[in-house]
Point group: none
Chain length 211, copies 4
Amino acid sequence: MGTPHVGSTTDEGPRTSRGERTAARLRDAARTVFARHGYATARVEDIVAEAGVSHGTFYTYFDNKGAALDALIDETSAVLLTVVDEPWEGEDVAATIEAVIARFVDVFAADADVIRAWLEATAHEAHFRERLREVRDGYVERVAAQLEPALHGTGHSPHSAAAALVAMVEGYATEMLSDDDLAERERTVKVLAAIWYGGLLRLSGVAGTEA
Amino acid sequence: MGTPHVGSTTDEGPRTSRGERTAARLRDAARTVFARHGYATARVEDIVAEAGVSHGTFYTYFDNKGAALDALIDETSAVLLTVVDEPWEGEDVAATIEAVIARFVDVFAADADVIRAWLEATAHEAHFRERLREVRDGYVERVAAQLEPALHGTGHSPHSAAAALVAMVEGYATEMLSDDDLAERERTVKVLAAIWYGGLLRLSGVAGTEA
Amino acid sequence: MGTPHVGSTTDEGPRTSRGERTAARLRDAARTVFARHGYATARVEDIVAEAGVSHGTFYTYFDNKGAALDALIDETSAVLLTVVDEPWEGEDVAATIEAVIARFVDVFAADADVIRAWLEATAHEAHFRERLREVRDGYVERVAAQLEPALHGTGHSPHSAAAALVAMVEGYATEMLSDDDLAERERTVKVLAAIWYGGLLRLSGVAGTEA
Amino acid sequence: MGTPHVGSTTDEGPRTSRGERTAARLRDAARTVFARHGYATARVEDIVAEAGVSHGTFYTYFDNKGAALDALIDETSAVLLTVVDEPWEGEDVAATIEAVIARFVDVFAADADVIRAWLEATAHEAHFRERLREVRDGYVERVAAQLEPALHGTGHSPHSAAAALVAMVEGYATEMLSDDDLAERERTVKVLAAIWYGGLLRLSGVAGTEA
DNA sequence: CATGAATGAGCTTTCATTCAT
DNA sequence: AATGAATGAAAGCTCATTCAT
């Protein structure tokens, strides 16, 4: 929130409640417009039109177009980090995995628009590439740490395994999931959890000699 | 600019061998530049500078920037469809899966630059969105058909499972793999194959009650 | 470039008085530049230089070059239609004709620059062709209606006669008249009026057997 | 024919009969394309496509686009000058006038496409303005000379009267006449001749006191 | 704080013309 | 003579950003 865009040091934002309302309108508008056109193609004019404010007002709240995306990413990555930091261990491993995946899928589904714009922006701005690496490395490492004991001595890198599992969840959730079909979401979580769990068993050498 | 452009197969092009050489130079240059800047930020001027031709020459071969990406996608998707259509069945299921994944990872690694530009372009041009859906649906369906027998009666949708496994391979290969470390690539293929196979066992109900 | 453009009445434009001033400056500049180079060869850059504003400002007020000509045509054709609608009948036919012609010549002389650009533009844009036809048909029909009684039963079409007389006045006024020589203008009006009146007599069969 | 464009001193053109054929094809094509798009908007590419030759061939025959129009104007103005120089006096003045007008209208109708392109080109190239003035002055002066005796002592300038009558015929013929309706053409000639003759009577003071 | 006119660098695209083959 | 690829100087138009009000 308010984290300035790269190179900027001033904290954007309003001091009054009227200003807070305008800022919120602009964030919402930016999100809508990024979802509609993508980040690169979105025009500041579209955003202010959507927000119902004048052109100049945008720059009262953001240093530039990138800062608006940054503000959205602030929120999304905060939520993602929260999810990563939630407790993970549990009696029933399969159920724990399913719970973790469900939480991730929920976040991805809720913020898919922001994430897609973010991913797109990584293609042309190093700043967004870095922010993505930072957050993604965060949860890949967290997952890798969880996998460590199970993979110990198998020759498989926990990091690789974590990256693969994360790629699966992320890719499915951001690109293939329609954001309103709740039943589909539940089925998806079950499939992802099964693959994750079965994959882990196989990686750890516990199962998979049959069939 | 979100503006649509002409179809995928450009009728532009040379009638002489000199022209063929120029066209190839432009395609290579486009690829290099898209890899460097992303699609949206790439300028035609960058491409012609890289190719060592004049500005106008670009338009002798392509209607616009999008047409250049289309030409690259033509090649990449042809290769992808070839991989999809290669034989799939084999005595040893685990080995077969590993072989298939290895082929996919090879293609993705080889054409990661094109694919990343393509993915980015889906954000602002419907045309590229459609081409991606077309090709991706192609291999998701192919994979789903393979999974069908194993998942029959389990309540899991072959399509979802296929989408998840494909997302894992695609995501890992295009975003997390450095394109020159061959050893890393081999380890990765083993991990992906293990997850894929173990996940399948679990999905099909064969294994996974242990642990 | 033969490309069509937006309608005649631009919704572009200023909401402030400063903007109104800029718009007027641009209209004047466009007129000057069209007079100097013709429509096709005139560059937006010439217009903004003449108006003393930046390049982008032009597009705040007009969608494109054609819209600037449209704005000028709006004014000119409004004046022309006014002249057409002024009273026409009078005691002395010859004097009435002279008065009407004088009014027309005045308008054509005053707006010859716009009209010449307009005529030129009809060569490459259908839109201007249509606007011309609309306005010209307007006064040709008005004149034809006046001639009707006199030509009744003569076998001559009032429309043809009107078209011929209008062509004479239009052609003379826009192409052959220098716009500052007032004495020349007065002599011209007398000649045109004499031809018009004598021509009518002859067409109506009243005179012309002599000589 | 072969008169080079302004500034050029080489006589364009072919030495062989094959070359002559190509030149003719290009002239025809230029005429067609100028008629379709106007002079400014016509592209050399359109002309060569219409002629069925390659791009470079155009420049074997013409120094530039203007030279192609010049070649067409060469033909048209030659015909116009011929008409002007044809005998003019006759027993029956009214009949003579009608004959002269008929010849003019025929030429204008036949070459309306060239003339329209020529008129348009006067808007942006001084060269064509000069050629037009030259030819037009030619027949205006010729007509003025004919009117001289009749207008002597009336206070009306023979030049003005000639210019008005020429403007009428030119304007009507190039802008208002459809080029294929022969009956319309005949009626038009009668109307123009009547106005011309009646106008003259009036100008010379012979008639017009009635009505 | 909000407004919206003004800026101008930047990018795409076009097309007359040249020239090696 | 004919070809068509290559050139590069123009334009046109867009849009992030600034700033006077």
